[in-house]
Every structure is written in structure tokens, then in C-alpha cells.
């Protein structure tokens, strides 16, 4: 493994942590917020907080099942 690849994996691990599904969920939530904010007349501010509550609940539930 090259040093560059090792460094890239270390950065990815630092940012994403041990739950890639949550990281992916955050990206999807912000993309949905952008989509609604820029392409509809519906208020978009509520999407991220709702997604945060759902993502936290799912992440905690997954961790609980693993124990």
C-alpha cells in the first residue's frame, strides 16, 4: 500500500468514523435540503433536524443490536 493511499484511508477513517451509514445519511439529508430549498417553494429547514433524529436513532439501535 502506498503512503498516499494509506494517508487517504486514514483521513477517510478520521472523517467517517465507525459508522459509514450515518455519514452517508448526513450527505443525503443535506442534498435533500439543497434540492427542496433551490427547486421548490417548500421550506427546507426542517429536513436536516428530522434526518438527524432519525440517523441518531438508527445508529444507536444498530449499536444496541451488536451488543
Amino acid at each position: 500500500m502506498t503512503a498516499v493511499r494509506k494517508a487517504a484511508l486514514a483521513v477517510l477513517d478520521f472523517v467517517v468514523g465507525d459508522d459509514w451509514r450515518t455519514a452517508l445519511g448526513v450527505v443525503v439529508a443535506l442534498a435533500a435540503t439543497a434540492l427542496v430549498a433551490h427547486h421548490t417553494s417548500i421550506a427546507a429547514w426542517w429536513i436536516t433536524p428530522v434526518a438527524v433524529a432519525v440517523l441518531l436513532a438508527l445508529s444507536v439501535t444498530r449499536a444496541r443490536k451488536r451488543r
Binding site: V26, A44, W45, L55, S59
Partner: protein, 246 residues
């Protein structure tokens, strides 16, 4: 100081204090067991490396357009915050062991004793193990602090305030550690980690949504609803887990 700036300073202070307590435990363990000289050289080298990271990333982060900065930083803070919060919820509900500095110190000390006789490093370093463990501990704990300082500071156009809060936290922890000469077991680390998780997630939600184009009702005042809202939701999850696993 505005409410947002106060939130920024408090978040950075708490996050930095928690990381500094953990780094201090590692340095105390190798320093008291093997070599103070090498452990402190490790701390110095890690601080230089962290300064280099700030020097490299700082200008890049602060030069981003504000909306791009907010959505990127908001997203990263959310990912970090949700990880802190998940672990804090699991700890508070008894599904994960509470973080215990005395236990961490005992483990580090045992590992330091088991590592064998001092191995000479570079000229002034009489024990390569102490240097390497100290360096790694301070650098890895510090990296998260650097990230929080840069992101919070850049978003609020106040890196100075964030850096001052981080410096204050480190000075307080180091002073307390050297006065006590033992790991800081009385610091309410688990409660502090819960608070940091709530703050990172709240600011991440606020900036991420704003950067993505959403307008918050009430502007910055929305944080006054987000912070307690996320704290209450997290505490409700703790209550649910305790009941479900009783």
C-alpha cells in the same frame, strides 16, 4: 459576545478539555513510568505537527465561499457530532462502559512497563517508546480539536475566539494535571462528551442546512431551539434504551 459566539467558545472549550484530559493521561502514564524527558519531547513534536496542520488547512478552509464552507463544515460537524452523541447515549444508557481515566491510566502504565527497557531514539530522546506514545496520543487527540477550532472559527469568522477557547482549555487541564500529578478522574468527562455531542450536532445541523440553502425561522435564534431540542431527543433515547433493556 453574541449567543452564537458564546456557543462557539463553550463548544470548543468543552471539546478541547475532554481531548486534553485524555492526552494528559497518556503523557502522565509514559512519563511517570519510563521517561519524562522523552514524553515531553513527544508532546512538543506533536504540537509542532498540529501547528503545521493548522498552517496547511487554515488558509484553505477560511478561503472557501461561505455557503460552500457552511455545507461542508456543517456536514462534517454533523458526522462528528452524531458519533460523539451515539457513544454518549450508549454510555449514559449503560450499553457502553463509561470512560474512566483511572482505568485508561492503568492500561497505559501496564503497556509502558511491558514495553521493555528504554530504547534510545534521536540525540536528546532517551526513550523512543515514551516519545512515540506521547506524540501519538497528543497528535491524535489534538487533531480533532484542530478540526473543531478551524471549522467553528471559520464559520463564525472568528478563528481567534475558537483558538483562545482551545488554548484556555489546554492550559486549565495541564495546570490541573501538573498540580494533581495524577489523571484527572474527577473531571465529568462523560457528561462533557454528551454536551459536546449535542453542540457539534446542533451547530452542524444549523450550518449544514443553511449552507444547503435553507432559511432558519428566526435566523441565528433557531440555535436556541436546536440545542435543547437535540439534547432532549438524545436524553429521550437514553430513557428509552434504559427502559427497553431493563
Amino acid at each position: 459576545m453574541t449567543g452564537t459566539e458564546l456557543g462557539l467558545a463553550l463548544s470548543v472549550l468543552l471539546a478541547c478539555a475532554v481531548e486534553a484530559v485524555e492526552a494528559l493521561t497518556i503523557v502522565l502514564a509514559v512519563g511517570s513510568t519510563r521517561s519524562w524527558n522523552s514524553a515531553l519531547y513527544g508532546v512538543g513534536a506533536a504540537l509542532l505537527a498540529l501547528a503545521a496542520v493548522v498552517g496547511a488547512l487554515g488558509p484553505a478552509v477560511t478561503s472557501l465561499p461561505i455557503d460552500v464552507l457552511r455545507v461542508v463544515v456543517g456536514g462534517l460537524l454533523l458526522i462528528f457530532g452524531l458519533q460523539w452523541l451515539r457513544k454518549a447515549v450508549l454510555r449514559a444508557s449503560g450499553l457502553k462502559a463509561l470512560h474512566d481515566e483511572a482505568s485508561a491510566f492503568a492500561q497505559e502504565t501496564a503497556a509502558a512497563r511491558a514495553a521493555g527497557s528504554p530504547s534510545r531514539g534521536l540525540a536528546a530522546i532517551d526513550d523512543g517508546y515514551s516519545f512515540a506514545i506521547s506524540f501519538k496520543g497528543v497528535f491524535l487527540e489534538g487533531l480533532e480539536v484542530v478540526f473543531i477550532v478551524l471549522t467553528f472559527g471559520a464559520n463564525q469568522h472568528n478563528v481567534g475566539l475558537a483558538a483562545a477557547a482551545a488554548t484556555l482549555a489546554v492550559l486549565l487541564v495541564v495546570a490541573a494535571g501538573f498540580a494533581a500529578r495524577t489523571p484527572l478522574t474527577r473531571v465529568p468527562e462523560n457528561a462533557m462528551k454528551f454536551s459536546v455531542g449535542v453542540m457539534l450536532t446542533s451547530f452542524g445541523t444549523f450550518w449544514g442546512a443553511e449552507g444547503a440553502g435553507a432559511s432558519w425561522p428566526g435566523g441565528d435564534a433557531a440555535l436556541l431551539a436546536l440545542v435543547p431540542g437535540i439534547a432532549i431527543a438524545s436524553l429521550a433515547m437514553v430513557g428509552w434504551l434504559r427502559t427497553a433493556d431493563a
